[in-house]
């Protein structure tokens, strides 16, 4: 027998297809498997936006806070330090200090300083603003990733999409409650601030409006445990969570969970300086704009560690510690798109599409055999190999199988036999015209080839466009359809041709070769 490269290729394709699709069927732990999309296995998909302008605002606040510390540390008298319209404004009382202040301001990068007769205004350059915004997105991605890694979910995905969007995918989520907990962890600002209580006006806190408070350089904050209790604190914090080095869950004397945090050297220095100066006054521990406690300072606190107490459950304290450790979000995030599927719905979808796949396959296979006889069997062999190939290629490339992707496979069953229908129809035509089987097969494949190629390439164009412009699950459809088309070229054209060449001698000997193609004669 002559070497039949087509049959060899078909056999290779079959072995390849079965070998690499096998792990996906058995879900064995070895070998590459197809990943199921979130719509099939259940899970949470979110597209998050970042409010980058908030990062700029907090940077300006940090500037003010730095200025305050600088002035206090060097005994420089400034007045009216405030943040207005994206600028830090203050007045220098003693012009002798001007040189020191100017020197200090020069060390701040990306700022524009206006000074007029001791009145200073410091703002951030547009370039620095842009940079801050980009940083805020990258920092949010990094922070969310850190938090999710510590949360202990299987295979979380956190990726940048476009310039300022974040894609978060959590396959392991089982219940709405679990999902909400994960969302809380992700979105928590975890902004820790240590603020000085304005003892001079603290008595009047309930009579002050926000604007009045602001005019004294104060803000009114809610108590975290008792929202009706208000605290009046200095607007500009003493220090914030950027100087945090660690946060761990601990227990207080009543065995309630608390969070112990420690500060880095610079933070410890500032903290020590402040507590040393403010004995007898109160220090507010503020987390995400709420006051968790405001203990009286009894003595200078060195070492740079502190404690946050609240009415936490252990899980809450744990999540909060994770959030504090992985750092604050520079800018708040917001939900742009969310798709969440429960595992039971995913399982139902798999079941339904398997029924459709098997049902569709059986119907098409039966139809092909009834209509084309032996040629139908050959086409069906090609179809089975085609399906195995789709799964194998997807498994190898780590592609994700989604519900629309399943529909794509079902559709491929219908469309893949197309090539064989075209070819068999051609062969029938030629046999009717009196060609020998051998010639009919060769000419049939030759003639059909061009049409199949053109038809498949145009379909592929539509599929590629769908892949480029489609999002999420729809991309999965484009993938299965494309692989299906390409695989069908191999199995339905090359493969079946090879099988026919193998059978050629037997068919030629038959007096009625047409019967192999489902016709008389």
């Amino acid at each position: 027998m002559k070497f039949n490269y087509r049959v060899v290729l078909l056999i290779i394709a079959t072995v390849f297809g079965l070998f690499f699709s096998y792990p996906s069927f058995t879900q064995s732990s070895e070998g590459k498997k197809i990943t199921l999309g979130l719509d099939l296995q259940g899970g949470l998909h979110m597209l998050l936006g970042v409010k980058t302008e908030e990062a700029v605002n907090s940077q300006i606040k940090a500037l003010a806070s730095g200025m305050k510390h600088f002035a206090e540390h060097n005994d420089i008298l400034i007045e009216g330090l405030s943040v207005q319209e994206g600028k830090v404004a203050f007045e220098l009382l003693d012009s002798d200090d001007a040189k020191a202040v100017d020197e200090h301001l020069k060390t701040l990068e990306g700022t524009i300083v206006h000074a007029n007769e001791g009145k200073y205004s410091v703002s951030i350059t547009p370039e620095a603003v842009e940079k801050l915004k980009l940083q805020a997105v990258d920092q949010a991605i990094e922070t969310i990733r850190n938090r999710l890694d510590q949360f202990g979910l299987a295979e979380p995905t956190v990726a940048k999409q476009g310039l300022d969007k974040i894609l978060v995918e959590l396959p392991g989520i089982k219940t709405p409650e679990e999902e909400q907990r994960a969302r809380e962890l992700i979105s928590r600002a975890a902004k820790l601030e240590l603020m000085a209580v304005d003892e001079d006006r603290a008595m009047r806190v309930n009579d002050l409006s926000n604007a009045e408070a602001l005019s004294f350089g104060d803000v009114i904050l809610e108590d975290a445990l008792a929202p009706e209790v208000k605290h009046l604190v200095n607007e500009i914090p003493i220090l914030d969570g950027t100087m945090l080095t660690d946060a761990q869950v601990g227990y207080d004397q009543n065995n309630r969970p608390v969070i112990n945090f420690s500060l880095n050297a610079a933070g410890a220095q500032i903290f020590g300086d402040f507590t040393g100066k403010s004995v007898g006054k109160r220090l507010a521990i503020v987390l995400d704009g709420k006051v968790y406690s405001a203990p009286v300072i009894n003595e200078r606190i060195g070492g740079g560690s502190g404690q946050i107490s609240g009415n936490y459950s252990v899980a809450e304290a744990n999540d909060l510690a994770i959030a504090l450790r992985s750092g604050a979000l520079l800018a708040p995030i917001y939900m742009m798109e969310k798709r969440s599927v429960g595992p039971s719905l995913g399982a139902d979808s798999i079941k339904a599409s398997m029924v459709a796949l098997i049902g569709g396959f059986v119907l098409v296979a039966l139809f092909m055999i009834v209509y084309y006889g032996a040629a139908g069997v050959v086409a069906n062999i090609a179809l089975v190999v085609n399906l195995a190939l789709i799964l194998a290629v997807m498994a190898l490339f780590g592609a994700t199988l989604t519900l629309p992707g399943m529909a794509g496979i079902v559709l491929t069953v219908g469309m893949a036999v197309d090539a064989n229908v075209i070819i068999t129809e051609r062969i029938r035509e030629l046999i009717r015209q009196g060609y020998s089987v051998r010639k009919a097969i060769e000419a049939g494949y030759d003639n059909a080839m061009r049409a199949i190629l053109d038809a498949n390439i145009t379909t592929l164009i539509a599929a590629v466009v769908l892949y480029v412009y489609g999002t999420g699950a729809i991309k999965g459809f484009a993938i299965t359809i494309s692989i299906g088309i390409l695989a069908s070229m191999l199995t339905a054209i090359l493969g079946t041709h090879g099988i026919y060449q193998m059978l050629e001698n037997r068919m030629s000997k038959s007096k009625t070769p047409g019967k192999y193609f489902g016709i008389k004669g």
């Binding site: 979110m46 629309p404 559709l411 197309d418 129809e425 498949n456 539509a462 729809i474």
Partner: protein, 323 residues
């Protein structure tokens, strides 16, 4: 088995006028439907929220409605059965930006105590994402058509390309008309189905055009109408059979694929049906009306062949060192 055994070609082109009139009525009717009734855009394209809830036993739809009424957040919400009496889908026009406490959580809390239920799906799409997806959708349909147009023009001739794209516009228009008529939720999956219809329908048309191309180059027939009739007749078996196998699986998908895949399968069902019709009755007549002239085309082809032969002759001479 054989279903199509026409010994002589069937005079399809003789019926083309009637076919085109039917097509024009269908297309215009579709546009009228789209203009008056409009699409029922789903959350993918306009933003909003979908919550799918499964109850143990029949879902208390009336009670759910009362629970969700009288709150601005849930205004314009609709609650419908989804596939079976114990499963419902709540559609809300609004979406929420909060990550911690979203509109899905709000619905869950509101429904607490209405019975044993499980929230199986929450989809929230913000308005901004919706409009982005809409733009991308229109873009993808247009680009796919342009891509096909260029490819067919390259492989055949411009008149073939324009005829096939017009046939595509015809198919997509009627499929969209049917979507508007039924009031199907238009989401990304429907868009995917429309693009599949594009790919499928062009596939059919090309098989017919390929035969016409073959008839033009290989046969002695000079009448385009006769060539077209013969080509359609010869491919009729294939056209209907493949449509049949594809329709078989789509019907199975429609019946058993589950509620989520319904709109997708419906669009395919209509689109593939219309696509089959159009590759027989719409694409080819357009080709004729564009004044495609067989003699001219053959003359051009032989000129091209002659140029090619001349080039090869020169090259051969060059290689042999004659020139």
């Amino acid at each position: 088995m054989e279903l199509f055994k026409a010994a002589r070609s069937i005079p399809f082109m003789g019926k083309s006028k009637i076919a085109i009139i039917i097509s024009i009525i269908m297309v215009l009717g579709s546009y009228a439907l789209i203009a008056t009734k409009g699409f029922n855009f789903g959350i993918d394209f306009v933003g909003g929220t979908i919550v799918q809830v499964k109850y143990e036993g029949t879902a208390p739809i009336d009670e759910m409605r009362t629970r969700l009424s009288g709150n601005a957040m849930f205004e314009g919400s609709s609650i419908n059965e989804f596939g079976s009496p114990d499963e419902v889908v709540i559609r809300l026009k609004s979406s929420s930006e909060s990550v911690t406490q979203d509109i899905g959580d709000a619905v869950r809390e509101k429904l607490a105590g209405t019975g044993q239920f499980e929230i199986r799906r929450v989809d929230i799409v913000g308005a901004k994402v919706g409009s982005e997806l809409r733009e991308k959708g229109i873009m993808s349909l247009t680009l796919a058509m342009i891509g096909i147009l260029i490819y067919v023009a390259f492989r055949f001739e411009w008149r073939f390309a324009v005829a096939s794209v017009l046939a595509l516009v015809h198919d997509i228009s009627i499929a969209m008309g049917a979507i508007a008529l039924i009031g199907l939720d238009v989401n990304l999956d429907v868009l995917a189905a429309l693009l599949t219809v594009l790919g499928y329908s062009i596939n059919d048309t090309i098989i017919v055009f390929d035969r016409i191309r073959e008839g033009i180059t290989d046969s002695k027939e000079t009448s385009l109408v006769d060539i077209i009739d013969e080509s359609i007749t010869k491919t009729l078996s294939r056209t209907t059979l493949t449509s049949l196998t594809t329709l078989l699986v789509v019907v199975v998908l429609f019946l058993f694929g589950g509620e989520i895949i319904h709109a997708f399968a419906f669009t395919l069902l209509v689109g593939i049906g219309v696509g089959t019709y159009s590759s027989i009755f719409v694409a080819s007549p357009i080709l004729q009306w564009f004044g495609f002239d067989v003699k001219n085309y053959r003359a051009k082809l032989s000129q091209k062949a002659a140029r090619q032969a001349e080039k090869e002759r020169l090259r051969a001479q060059f290689e042999q060192g004659v020139v």
